[in-house]
């Protein structure tokens, strides 16, 4: 692998020294483009108290192309599917090279606080959310207890 671009070095440095609240990200030893991430569930959300593990990979084209991010911890959320894939506009067509790992992770944390069942990735979960929000939120809480603690 070619030498790490200055941009990635800088971002990594800043993530390690000054990480946003409730978020930590550190590159793996064997691949500095591959990050272990953990995000704590936002307060007032069914994910509160949970620590969610994610993996983040910076492709060769980064920052022209968005990073690839995936939940490793099981989570009950209408915009996150069974494999942990995330439906988030800035990871697709709304990506801008001016965005950073930090902003992406903050957006993911915000997504946990504001699920959007109208733009679902996990259809069954979204359906549940729309038909019986209370029960769906309870289920999300249950999964947080079971898998994220």
């Amino acid at each position: 692998m070619s030498a790490l671009p200055k941009r990635i070095l800088k971002e990594t440095e800043r993530l390690m020294s000054d990480s946003p609240p409730g978020i930590s990200a550190a590159p793996k030893d064997d691949n500095l483009r591959h990050f272990d991430v953990s995000v704590s569930g936002p307060g007032q959300s069914p994910y509160e108290g949970g620590i969610f593990k994610l993996e983040l990979f910076l492709p060769e084209e980064y920052p022209m192309n968005p990073p690839k991010v995936r939940f490793l911890t099981k989570i009950y959320h209408p915009n996150i599917d069974k494999l942990g894939r995330i439906c988030l506009d800035i990871l697709k067509d709304k990506w801008s090279p001016a965005l950073q790992i930090r902003t992406v992770l903050l957006s993911i944390q915000a997504l946990l606080g504001a699920p959007n069942p109208d733009d679902p990735l996990a259809n069954d979960v979204a359906q549940h959310w729309k038909e019986n929000e209370k029960a769906a939120i309870e289920q999300a809480r249950e999964w947080t207890r079971m898998y994220a603690q």
């Binding site: 671009p5 200055k6 941009r7 070095l9 800088k10 084209e61 920052p63 022209m64 192309n65 800035i90 709304k94 801008s96 090279p97 001016a98 965005l99 902003t103």
Partner: protein
């Protein structure tokens, strides 16, 4: 608006193959009525016959498309008093609908400019100058994307900001723009790199940032977008052909009455309405789409299952009976029932071998359902087989031409006929092939037609053409005999070919007129 259209309708009888003459329109408008009459009268006699269901169209080249854009840009440029680049960006945003653009622009110029991703007019320096203005007071700069540092002097020459002021280094801009153009195929909607900023990167900076190859691709993409935005333009769908068809007489709302088949300069037919890469006359686009979907779907597999299998009335397992008696025992749930009436076997008593339980409710519902789906499958297959048969024949066109070619050579040598004298055979093959394409689609049409008197007339016409084509096809397959036989064959083929042509014209003419007269009723 509508009168313009009609005028065009009356005037434009020129041959479609003729090149585009940019002066033609204006010349046509400026001549006096008397002159116009003089010009029109010979042309009115000349074209074969202009049918009410035919459309006027022109085949354009890429250069003409570019000229059309330039013309449009110039018009808007002078009307709105904006620079050409701005006019072009505005037009692209409004999908080249200059009326809508003008309305919005005069209503609120700032809003029109901003929504199109341009600088508002209040900042003239940036709205007219898309390239980065040098910084007022150059200072060292770190590009937020690659994190490279630039000195005061370098900042002025090696970095760039659009009117929105988001500054990045040229290297990042180039990488970004090239990626958008070459991998994402974007052109007119490339935005500033800053997240959430909707400022458009215009042609001028792009041409300056990228190599000429990429720039060429970018302008090609812009042209493509122009063609797909304009409802009166359509690309020729044939591989390798780069022509564009212009036709303003077949808007979407007319497609229930018109089948706008056109011939591109590459020699191939296409439907201007839906882009189907061949003629699908006499069927309208909507029905063709339904038919294609039906044939592609495996919904017919489901129909087959329904027609050839039955379901266990208890556990719904699908069962195909391949022998044995009618006393069925479901392998899965062990339910016993009668295959003939579908009623439970226990109700049969000892009379099972006659299955005289015809009126039992439990069985008759099941049978009705099955009969219906079997009938629908048979009906579909009837039309599909005929459609597919002609489709298949069309695939053998090349062979047909080849074998005819051989016979023509044979005739030339054995009967001492001239090249021109044996052309009748090739013409006959042309006639057969054209008729088969029409016949093919006539079966699609018949499948969707409601049963009524009109449909019967349609099917009579269809039958007559089918018969005529068969006869001619048979004659063309004949072996070449001696000189006398050849003369007879030639006479026969010529007559039959004329007859096929006539039947073909009748079917086509009647069917296409039928749309205009609202004679056809479809079941969907």
């Amino acid at each position: 608006m509508s009168s313009d259209g009609e005028e065009e309708f009356e005037f434009e009888f020129e041959d479609d193959d003729e090149g585009f003459d940019p002066e033609a329109d204006s010349a046509g408008e400026s001549i006096s009525d008397a002159e116009a009459f003089d010009i029109m009268s010979p042309t009115l006699e000349e074209p074969p016959e202009k049918k009410p269901y035919d459309v006027n169209y022109r085949v354009r080249t890429m250069q003409e498309i570019m000229d059309m854009q330039t013309k449009e840009v110039k018009k808007v440029q002078s009307l709105l008093e904006v620079p050409a680049d701005t006019a072009a960006t505005l037009l692209r945003y409004y999908a080249w609908n200059s009326e809508k653009l003008q309305e919005q622009f005069w209503n609120d110029p700032t809003a029109a400019l901003v929504s199109a991703g341009l600088s508002p007019p209040s900042s003239p320096s940036t709205s007219t100058q898309p390239l980065p203005s040098p910084l007022a007071s150059p200072r060292p700069f770190e590009c937020p994307i690659c994190c490279m540092d630039y000195t005061k002097e370098q900042t002025a020459t090696q970095t760039l900001a659009l009117g929105c002021g988001h500054r990045f280094c040229r290297g990042c801009w180039t990488e970004y723009v090239v990626g958008k153009i070459t991998t994402e195929g974007e052109s007119g909607r490339i935005q500033c790199m800053e997240s959430g900023c909707s400022r458009i990167v215009r042609a001028e900076p792009i041409d300056e940032l990228v190599t000429s190859d990429v720039s060429k691709k970018y302008h090609n993409l812009l042209n493509q977008a122009f063609v797909s935005d304009a409802p009166s333009l359509r690309w020729c769908p044939h591989p390798g052909c780069e022509h564009i068809i212009e036709c303003s007489q077949a808007p979407q709302k007319m497609l229930n009455q018109l089948v706008p088949t056109v011939t591109c300069r590459c020699g191939n037919d296409l439907c201007f309405g839906c882009g189907y890469p061949a003629s699908h006359r006499p069927v309208i686009c909507r029905i063709v789409k339904l038919w294609e979907k039906k044939c592609a779907d495996d919904s017919e597999t489901a129909n087959w299952l329904q027609a050839n299998t039955k379901e266990c009335t208890k556990c719904q397992s699908t069962i195909e009976k391949n022998g044995g008696c009618n006393h069925m025992t479901c392998k899965k749930c062990k339910w016993e029932f009668c295959w003939v009436c579908m009623g439970p076997w226990s109700e049969h008593g000892t009379a099972w071998y006659q299955c005289n339980r015809f009126d039992e409710k439990s069985g008759s519902d099941n049978r009705d359902h099955q009969a219906k789906s079997r009938q629908s499958l048979e009906r579909y297959l009837h039309y599909f087989n005929r459609w597919a048969n002609h489709e298949h024949s069309a695939k053998l066109d090349a062979d047909f031409y080849k074998s005819t070619q051989k016979k023509m050579e044979q005739m030339q040598s054995s009967a001492n006929m001239s090249w021109i004298e044996v052309q009748f055979a090739k013409q006959a093959v042309d006639t057969v092939i054209a008729a088969r394409i029409t016949l093919k689609w006539s079966y699609c049409m018949a499948f969707y037609l409601k049963r009524n008197n009109m449909t019967e007339l349609f099917e009579d016409n269809q039958r007559d053409l089918e018969r005529a084509v068969e006869t001619l096809g048979y004659s063309l397959e004949q072996n070449i005999g001696d000189v006398g036989a050849i003369a007879k064959l030639r006479q026969e083929v010529t007559n039959q070919s004329a007859y096929v042509q006539k039947r073909h014209d009748i079917l086509m003419d009647d069917t296409l007129r039928g749309y205009l007269e609202h004679r056809w009723e479809f079941t969907v």
